[in-house]
Symmetry: C2
DNA sequence: CAGTATCCTGCAGGATACTG
DNA sequence: CAGTATCCTGCAGGATACTG
């Protein structure tokens, strides 16, 4: 798996677009960041349980601000992972749920999260041993 | 999958530690961010191909700075996903490779990445339809 | 209720210089 | 070669106020 473009790319180009160059080199990168990012992953995780309204989601996705939830949902909707259904009532009622594509991706994401969570004892042990080694070397 | 802690947590506590509270609520979150983050994922992807020296990795992980690669490798080593082998020669030679745990996690990560990449045509189609709808509504 | 708009700040992370 | 140290800045994202 090679993720590189020639290193010169970021340097000499039309300027100030280094990030875009990066994105262009790997177009799935954007979607991947929506999926794995802090709010994206939590939102997909929350929606994996069903359909929710905006403020229900806010309560389920701990710590998310209105702004970030709104932004995250827009990104996921645009990528076709989340379906937004607005009823033109007053007050408005909007429900969000995963699309089949979103569900498929959320499944894999949750698989990865589950694996990492399941291996946390090993990770914690590695951390302790690493810290102990460091302390021994430094002191 | 519930990722929430009571919303009050972030607000009333010993102050300025909202992020730590968040991390404490979900201890695997840190490792997950090392794995899915921009440089972490690219580094795991690069190391999936074999063992590499520091500057070899820098060349494989497009756009990474010395600082970020160093920081990323430290985090992954501490979590037990990457093994660092230093030969006490002069000039020094240091090789990095995945541990079995790192390989296991990288496999799933690459699975997720592969799935997203494979679904990009669907994602692009969704984006176009989304943008078209937006344009139609706005104009 | 379901958002958008604006303003503001901490910190991820780049650039640069230096070291064993 | 394989890093660490320092300085600096853009922007993710929070707080707050407002709207259909």
């Amino acid at each position: 798996m090679v993720v590189s473009a020639p290193p010169e790319y970021g340097v000499d180009m039309t300027d100030d677009l280094a990030y875009d160059v990066f994105a262009r080199a790997c177009p799935s990168r954007g979607t991947l960041e929506h999926v794995t990012g802090r709010w994206g992953s939590l939102t997909l995780g929350a929606l994996y349980d069903g359909s929710f309204r905006f403020n229900e989601l806010r309560r389920r996705v701990d710590g998310v601000s209105e702004k970030m939830l709104s932004q995250t949902l827009h990104a996921l909707e645009r990528d076709g992972l989340v379906h937004r259904e607005a009823q033109p009532t007053n007050p408005p009622r909007v429900d969000y749920r995963l699309t089949p594509l979103g569900r498929e991706i959320a499944e894999r994401l949750i698989g990865l999260i589950g694996l990492v969570e399941g291996r946390m004892p090993q990770v914690e042990a590695a951390r302790e041993s690493y810290d102990a080694r460091r302390a021994a070397t430094t002191v």
